[in-house]
Each structure stands twice: as C-alpha cells, then as structure tokens.
C-alpha cells in the first residue's frame, strides 16, 4: 500500500494505482477525456493535469498516467492546474468545436471564448477508439498512421479492415464523433447519423464495405439515397 497526499488529505491506495485513481478514490474529481476504465492509460489529452511536488520543483503531470508514489504531494485544483486545464480545453475547442463532450467540459470550466484559429477536425487523436478496438474488442482493426501534422486514425490503406467486425465500439467511445460526418459545412451540420443507428451499421449485408464512423461512413451512405 502507498500513502500520498492529495489536496492536503492522506490517501492510501494499492501499489500500481495511478494518481487519477487515488484522487477518484478519495473523491476529488479530475476531468478526463482520453481515459476510460478498462483501457490502458494513454495520456493524450492532458486534461487530467495535476500539480505534484512543492515549491519551485512543483510540476504538472497527467494524473491518468502518473503512478502513485509514497509521500507524493498532489494538488488537483490549484490555480496553475486550472489555468493549464482551461488552456487544454481552449485548444481542444479550437480544433474540434463540434464535439458535445468538449463543449460540455469547456462550459463546465467557464470557458467563454476561444482565441485560436478555428478548425473543424473530426478527430482529436485521443486514441480511445484504437485502444477500445485492440484491448476490449480484440480486433486491432484501426490504429495511428503517419506522423506529426498528418497523424490520423484509421485502417491500413484506408480500406475496410478484415479485422473489423462492425462492433461500433470505436464510435461508442469517441468523444468527437457525434459530428464525424459533416459533409461540407462543418459549422452547421449536426449529423449524428451514425450514432443513431442501433445497433450501428444494422444492415451489415448492404453496407459491407462500411466501417462505423471510419471512411466510408454508413450514415452518409444512407443519407445519400
């Protein structure tokens, strides 16, 4: 067992827990986006930042990936943490404003404006779907491709993956995909077509080349006819 101090309170957790788990255990909420129980922590969104250490040595770390250490001093809501979190949310808003999840988080953190160049990405590369597909669905149909600016998630060669069973798990965990298919007007479109198919991709025979929200999108294909 390991004892650490979170916001001044001692909390004892099992060895191998993360700071996020410890904080949740004692009841300090930390917002997360790319974290999900049952999937390996990935530390992509940085929304779960907390401050560790004291004095000038204090630093910001992502709590979902930081292991709880004996005697660690953690602050989950210091002004430095809140500021960093707001910045993260503002940047997320700048890239993917259509996401209901991000909008809700932003509003909960009192963000009223967005100072960066507006983009309309349909993916924030949080990797939830990739981990869902590989770790829970045991498929490994989608993954990261390319690098840097061109990094994207999808299937190898952008063709329907043999491993994909159309389980829809990727869609289910995606924080951005409510509006994945937006056609040409990302500002206005509220499609959500794919999310409204229950179960996703019902007519599997008819749409056998489709893969949930990956290209080509079932909902878009349905809307076409």
């Amino acid at each position: 067992m390991i004892t650490l101090k979170i916001n001044g309170l001692d909390v004892t957790v099992e060895k191998g827990s993360t700071v996020l788990e410890a904080a949740n255990f004692i009841g300090f909420p930390i917002p997360t986006l790319c974290h999900m129980d049952g999937l390996t922590p990935y530390g992509a969104c940085r929304l779960c930042v907390v401050e560790i250490g004291e004095g000038p040595g204090a630093k910001l770390v992502s709590s979902c990936t930081y292991p709880a250490e004996e005697g660690l001093v953690v602050r989950t809501a210091s002004s430095r943490v809140l500021e960093a979190r707001r910045m993260v949310l503002e940047l997320l808003l700048a890239s993917c404003p259509q996401s209901k999840t991000i909008q809700d988080l932003a509003s909960a953190h009192g963000i009223r404006r967005q100072r960066f160049r507006q983009e309309y990405e349909d993916c924030i590369l949080c990797g939830l779907c990739v981990r869902m597909c590989a770790e829970q669905m045991m498929a490994g149909a989608i993954g990261f491709r390319n690098r840097g600016e061109n990094r994207s998630i999808g299937t190898p060669f952008d063709i329907k993956s043999e491993e994909c069973r159309l389980c829809g798990g990727c869609m289910y965990v995606c924080p951005a995909c409510q509006l994945r298919c937006t056609y040409t007007e990302p500002e206005k479109a509220v499609c959500g077509g794919c999310a409204n198919l229950t179960p996703p991709c019902v007519e599997k025979e008819q749409f056998k080349d489709m893969m949930c929200y990956m290209n080509p999108c079932v909902a878009c294909e349905i809307k076409k006819d």
């Binding site: 349909d122 993916c123 990739v130 590989a134 490994g140 149909a141 989608i142 993954g143 990261f144 491709r145 390319n146 690098r147 994207s152 998630i153 999808g154 299937t155 190898p156 060669f157 952008d158 063709i159 993956s161 491993e163 990956m214 290209n215 080509p216």
Partner: protein, 295 residues
Amino acid sequence: MGQGNIAAHEENVDVEEIEPGDILKILKAHQGDVGGLISILQEIQSTYGYLPAEALRIVGRQTGRSMVDIYGVATFYRSFSLKPRGRHLICACLGTACHVRGAPRVVDELEQQLGIKAGQTTEDKEFTLETLNCLGACALGPVVVIDGHYFSKVTRARIRPLLDKALEGFDTTELGKDSRIFPIEVSCPHCGHSLMDDGSTIDGHPSIKVTISMDHRDGWLRLSSLYGSYNFSSEFEVPHNTVVRFLCPSCREELPSTSDCSTCGAPMVPMLVNGGGIVKVCSRRGCRNHMLDLI
C-alpha cells in the same frame, strides 16, 4: 481523415507481383529478434524500393503483429515508402536553415523541372521527389540529396545540370591524369580463370566481366579494370543500394566473400590480381569501398 483519400489510395494498391519466398527469407533472418520490425521493413524496402502491401500482409501473418501496427510504423518513418519510387530519389531539405537559405525556391525549381509535386514520382518512373526536414548539414544549405550523393549550397541554376547528371549516373568517374588510377588484371579465386574481357573495353581498357545475380536474375556486369575508376556497365539495371551476388562466368561459383565492407556492411567480393595480390570490391551498388592488397 478526409473523405477524399479513398480514391487516392485505390491507385496505390499495387499491382506488382511480389515473391512471398523473398519475404519469408528476410523474415527468417530476423527470426527471434523481438524488435526487428524496422529492420525487416528496411530490408523489404531495399529489395523492392518500396513496401508492397502484400509484403506487409505477409510480415503481419508471419510475425503475428497486427496490420495496423505494421502500417503505423511504415507510415511513421519517412524513409519507408508505400508507393513504388522512381529510379532516382531526390530529397530536398526544407529544414529551417535550408529554408531561410532559399530551399523553397530550389524545391519549386525541382517541381517545375520534373513536372511533379514533392512526394510524387514522374510518369516515366525516373525521379521521385521528396522533401525532408534537416539533414544536419545546415551550414551547407540548401542541401539536396540525389541517390545518396549530397549537394550543398544548391541554387536554381544548378538543378538542371544535377538532374542530367543523375540520369547519367553519379557512379561514372571522370578520368583525369590521376596517378592513383591504373589498370589491373584479375582472375577468379576459385578456378583461376581470367575475368578479363578483351572484347569489350571500359575507359579504354579491357573490362572485368563477372556474372551478377539478384532477385533470381543473372546477368553480366563489366567493371572498369582501372583501379580507382567506378565506371561499369551491366545487363540489367541494379537499383541503388542493392547488394548483388558476384559469380565467376567460367566456373559459375560465387566469388567467396571473407570480409564485410567497412562502410556499409555488405560482403566484399575478392578477385585475384594477376601477378599476386587480391582486390576486393563492395557488393553494394553505389558503395565505393574497395581494397587492394598486392603481394
């Protein structure tokens, strides 16, 4: 994930036939080394000049890795290409230093001369143009690398001559009055047969004729017998950077390699020098390493 990239990918689906046996051979050499994916891909790339989709599938099946992992690695590194590349690879540096020294203009010129955009291959499959970010030779910028040869302080005016030279091949040597260049006569270390071919000359001297074998193809290769000259001609085009096997045309035995090239690690091919001694040349196309031991 733009909606448009499906069509773009269809044309990438390779039609080229690959030999599963070759891939299996490469895999076998890497059996048991856990992190070997990159070296496997490197070898496939040097065999085919790119990574054919089918080859990646075989690698996946054999190593038990998922296709996404392999595809992820293959697209992460710039040196891997999923599309066939042209015979000559041009890499123009667009790193910060080269950028301020005028690299964008050099790239513009290259694009114009070749009629392609960066990342594409000319229709005649001669040139592939790629850009990269810093080669670590910033003081020499703008840097352009063509077929492994580095060119510094490149200006627009130098592009055309460089392209012409690339078509000719950088491997040809201009023979001046270089005293380090002198003719030798060699024979096969196995059967002792002379390898000299009086019937066809290179650099005005009888050439050295050997058989080379690559990808189940055999053909002749004639080397200049002038020690220090890299001029040669061959029956078929050997892609840059590939290692070929050298055989004696008389006894058909492979010229037995006893050492590896100190520059690139490929086997060094020995030939007996008439009058005593041994000359060794690197078996990798483009590597100029060679050694002469006279007794």
